[in-house]
C-alpha cells in the first residue's frame, strides 16, 4: 500500500525508517505483549492437543484462543479500515448491527419456534438473508453519511441506540436456541469441524482477508477510497463519485458484520441481545488505530489493521489471564487508545521530530 512511503523513508537512516514504517506500530505492540507474557507466564505459549466435548481432537492454548476469538475482530477491521479511510470517521454501530444480523439469522432458521427440531432453511440461505439485512443497515448508515453529510460517528449513533432494540424486536424478545439435533453442523462455524484441530472462525477470517486483499489488488477500491479520504473535492474533479464510494464502504462493512454475526451466533447456538458483540466497536476502531492508520481518513494499510485486530485480542486475552474482570477491561483499553492517539497526533509527532536533532530538516517536508 505504501511503496512511496518506503521510498521516502529509505533516504533517512536506519532507525528512523523503521520507526516510520506503518507496520512498526502493530508489530512493536505485538512484540511488547509477547515479551511481557513470556516473562510473566511462559505457559501462555503452550499448545496442547486434547479431546473436545464432541470427541474431536482439537488444539487448545491461549495462542489458539487468540486466533479463534480474534476472528470477528479481524473481519470487522477490514470493513472499519475502509470506512475510516473513505469518510475519516468510524462506524460505532457494528456491535448493534451484529445483534441485528444474528437475530435475523436465527429468525430465518427457527421461525417463531424458539426450540425447533428441524431448521426451516439451510444455514447458507439464512446467512444470505442476514447479509442482505446487514447490508441494508450499512446502506442506511452510508446514506446518512454520504448523502446527508452527517458525521459518521453521529450518524451511526442512531443505529447504536436502536440496534439492540431492533434485534430484540425481530425475534419478539425470545432467545431461540439451535440444538445439535436440529442442526449438527450449525455449531461448526464458531467451533470445530470434526477432524480439523484448528477452530473454524480462523479459516473464515483468513478467507475474508484473502478476498479483501485480492479485491484491493485487482480493483481500484483501495485507490478510490484513499483518494476520497484524502481530498473529497479533488477526487470529484478527477471523475470519482465520492458519495457512492463512501456509501459503498458502509455496505462492505455490512457484509463483514454479517459474517462476524454468523460466527458469534454459532459460538453460542443462540443469542443474547444486550451482550452479543458488546463493546466490539471500540476494539474494531482500536485495531484500525493500532494498525497505524490515520483515524482522520486517507491512506490505509489493510494488513496492518488485521494484525492490529489480533494484537487487540492478545491484549484482551492477556488481561483476562491476569484475572481482570470483563467489565473493567474497557478502562485498560481506553488507556491504550489514549496513548496511541496521543503518540500519533500531529502536534506530538512534530515535537518528537524536533527532538530528533539534525534529522528535523530532512523529514520536516515529508511529514508536512
Amino acid at each position: 500500500m505504501s511503496p512511496e512511503m518506503n521510498k521516502v523513508s529509505k533516504k533517512s537512516d536506519f532507525p528512523g525508517s523503521l520507526l516510520r514504517n506503518q507496520l512498526f506500530i502493530p508489530f512493536a505492540a505485538l512484540f511488547i505483549l509477547l515479551v511481557f507474557n513470556l516473562i510473566a507466564d511462559p505457559s501462555f505459549f503452550k499448545i496442547t492437543m486434547s479431546q473436545s466435548n464432541a470427541g474431536n481432537a482439537v488444539l487448545l492454548g491461549p495462542i489458539i484462543t487468540i486466533l479463534d476469538n480474534g476472528s470477528e475482530l479481524a473481519i470487522l477491521a477490514i470493513g472499519m479500515t475502509l470506512v475510516t479511510a473513505a469518510t475519516g470517521g468510524q462506524d460505532i454501530s457494528v456491535g448493534a448491527a451484529i445483534a441485528i444480523a444474528g437475530s435475523t439469522l436465527l429468525r430465518v432458521l427457527c421461525g417463531t419456534n424458539t426450540r425447533p427440531d428441524t431448521l426451516r432453511t439451510t444455514v447458507f440461505a439464512a446467512f444470505l438473508i442476514s447479509v442482505l439485512v446487514a447490508m441494508a443497515f450499512g446502506a442506511f448508515n452510508g446514506m446518512l453519511v454520504a448523502i446527508f453529510k452527517i458525521q459518521p460517528m453521529v450518524a451511526t449513533l442512531i443505529l447504536y441506540t436502536a440496534g439492540r432494540s431492533i434485534a430484540a424486536w425481530i425475534n419478539n424478545n425470545e432467545l431461540p436456541i439451535i440444538s445439535t439435533q436440529a442442526s449438527p453442523t450449525f455449531a461448526y462455524y464458531g467451533g470445530y469441524i470434526p477432524g480439523i484441530p484448528i477452530p473454524t472462525p480462523f479459516f473464515i477470517a483468513a478467507a475474508c482477508v484473502v478476498v479483501i486483499l485480492l479485491v484491493l489488488k485487482f480493483t481500484n477500491l483501495g485507490l478510490y477510497t484513499q483518494a476520497v479520504g484524502i481530498n473529497e473535492s479533488s477526487s470529484r474533479l478527477n471523475g470519482l463519485n465520492p458519495v457512492f464510494i463512501k456509501w459503498l464502504t458502509f455496505v462492505i462493512l455490512g457484509v463483514c458484520v454479517a459474517v462476524a454475526a454468523l460466527i458469534k451466533v454459532s459460538r453460542l447456538s443462540s443469542i443474547n441481545y444486550s451482550v452479543i458483540a458488546k463493546d466490539i466497536e471500540m476494539d474494531a476502531i482500536l485495531a484500525v488505530a493500532l494498525g497505524g492508520n490515520a483515524l482522520s481518513g486517507g491512506k490505509f494499510n489493510m494488513v496492518a489493521s488485521i494484525i492490529g485486530a489480533y494484537v487487540i485480542q492478545m491484549l484482551t486475552t492477556t488481561l483476562y489471564k491476569f484475572q481482570v474482570p470483563s467489565d473493567a477491561l474497557p478502562a485498560y483499553k481506553a488507556v491504550v487508545v489514549i496513548l496511541l492517539v496521543v503518540f500519533s497526533a500531529p502536534a506530538v509527532r512534530e515535537k518528537l521530530e524536533r527532538m530528533d536533532i539534525g534529522r528535523s530538516k530532512k523529514t520536516g517536508g515529508v511529514r508536512a
Binding site: 460505532i92 449513533l157 432494540s165 424486536w169 489514549i338 497526533a345
Partner: protein
C-alpha cells in the same frame, strides 16, 4: 454581519420547530392519553426524572456549539454515583465532601479531554469514546456490585422536596395535594439560566459560537481558539460531574449500569433542541425543550402500552434521525 444574521435565523428556526413539536406532542398526549398529562405533577415528574439529563444535555450543547462532541458524560455520571456512594456508605463520609468529589471527577475528565482535544488536536469523538470506556471500566474497578446508599444525611437530602405553590391538585378525597419538584430540578434550572446568560451576554460565550461557526475567522478576530475549545470540554465535564450528582440524588444508588445511554440521550436532546452538529448554532433553551420532548415521547410510548424496552430505543433513534435530516436539509439550503 450578514452571515451572523443568517445563523441566528437558522438557530431561531430550529428552536421554533422544537418548541412547536413539544407543544404539539404534549397536547396530543393530553388528547389521546387522557387527563393524566393535564395534571401539573405529571409535568413536574418529567422534570424530576430528567433533571440530570437536562444538565448533561446543556454541557453537551456547549461542546457541540464549538464543533466538538463529548460522549463520556454517561460514563462520568456512573463513575460519580459509584464514587460518591462508596464514600458515603463505606467510609461514612459527609454530603458536602461528596459533592466536592463529584466536581473533582468532572474537573479531572474535563482537563484531560479538553487538553487532548484542544491542544493536541485529536478528534473529540475518539477522545471522549476512550473517556467513556475508561469511566465505565473505572466504575466497576471502584466497586462491582450496585448498592443503595443508606447514609442518613444523604437520605434526608434525597427526600427533600420543594413545593411548587398553586400547582397542586385536589385528590379523590377532596384533599389538596401539593405539587413538588426535587432539588435536582432547581439545580438544573439554575444551570440552564446561568448557561443561557453566559452564552448570550458574555464575550467568552459569544466566542464559543464564533469558534464553532468558523475557526479561521474566529482566529482572525483574535479569539484564542484552543483555549475556547478547552474551556468548552472543561465546562461540559464539570456539568457532567454536577449532573452525575443530581442523578445520584434521584436514584440514590451507586451502580456501573447507572445512566446507561445517557450520552446518547444528551446528544439527541441537543440535536432535537436545534444545536447543530457542525457547530456555531445552538440554544440552551432549545436544549431544555429537547430534553422535555424526548421525555414526553418516552411517557407517551409507555402509557400507550408499548412498554417493551425496545420501543423507547427505536422511537428515540427515529426522532434523532428525523432531526438530523432536517438539520442537514437546512444546512444544504443555506449553502445555496
Amino acid at each position: 454581519m450578514g452571515k451572523k444574521l443568517k445563523n441566528m435565523t437558522d438557530s431561531n428556526l430550529l428552536l421554533l420547530i422544537t418548541i412547536v413539536i413539544f407543544f404539539l406532542m404534549y397536547v396530543g398526549a393530553v388528547v389521546f392519553q387522557g387527563k393524566g398529562f393535564l395534571k401539573a405533577q405529571t409535568f413536574f415528574n418529567i422534570l424530576n426524572e430528567n433533571a440530570a439529563l437536562i444538565i448533561l444535555a446543556c454541557g453537551m450543547s456547549l461542546v457541540m456549539i464549538t464543533g466538538g462532541i463529548d460522549i463520556s458524560v454517561g460514563g462520568v455520571t456512573a463513575l460519580v454515583t459509584m464514587c460518591c456512594a462508596v464514600y458515603l456508605d463505606r467510609h461514612d463520609g459527609n454530603v458536602g465532601f461528596s459533592i466536592v468529589i463529584a466536581l473533582l471527577i468532572g474537573l479531572a475528565f474535563g482537563i484531560v479531554q479538553g487538553y487532548l482535544v484542544a491542544y493536541l488536536d485529536i478528534q473529540p469523538f475518539i477522545v471522549s469514546l476512550a473517556g467513556m470506556f475508561f469511566a465505565r471500566g473505572m466504575t466497576t474497578i471502584v466497586n462491582t456490585n450496585p448498592f443503595n446508599v443508606e447514609n442518613a444525611e444523604f437520605v434526608a437530602l434525597k427526600a427533600t422536596r420543594v413545593v411548587v405553590p398553586f400547582m397542586g391538585t385536589i385528590n379523590k378525597k377532596g384533599k389538596y395535594v401539593d405539587a413538588y419538584v426535587e432539588i435536582g430540578v432547581i439545580v438544573a434550572l439554575i444551570m440552564v439560566i446561568l448557561l443561557f446568560c453566559f452564552l448570550r451576554w458574555t464575550s467568552l460565550g459569544r466566542s464559543f459560537y464564533a469558534v464553532g461557526g468558523n475557526k479561521q475567522s474566529a482566529l482572525m478576530l483574535g479569539i484564542n481558539v484552543k483555549k475556547t475549545k478547552f474551556l468548552s470540554h472543561l465546562i461540559c465535564s464539570i456539568l457532567a460531574g454536577i449532573g452525575g450528582y443530581v442523578y445520584f440524588l434521584h436514584v440514590g444508588s451507586g451502580a456501573a449500569t447507572n445512566a446507561q445511554g445517557a450520552e446518547m440521550n444528551a446528544i439527541a436532546s441537543s440535536i432535537i433542541g436545534g444545536t447543530m452538529l457542525t457547530g456555531g448554532v445552538g440554544n440552551i433553551i432549545g436544549t431544555l425543550f429537547g430534553v422535555l420532548s424526548l421525555a414526553t415521547i418516552k411517557n407517551i410510548v409507555a402509557s400507550a402500552g408499548l412498554d417493551q424496552a425496545w420501543w423507547t430505543g427505536i422511537t428515540i433513534a427515529a426522532m434523532l434521525c428525523i432531526f438530523l435530516v432536517i438539520q442537514s436539509v437546512v444546512m444544504a439550503r443555506k449553502k445555496k
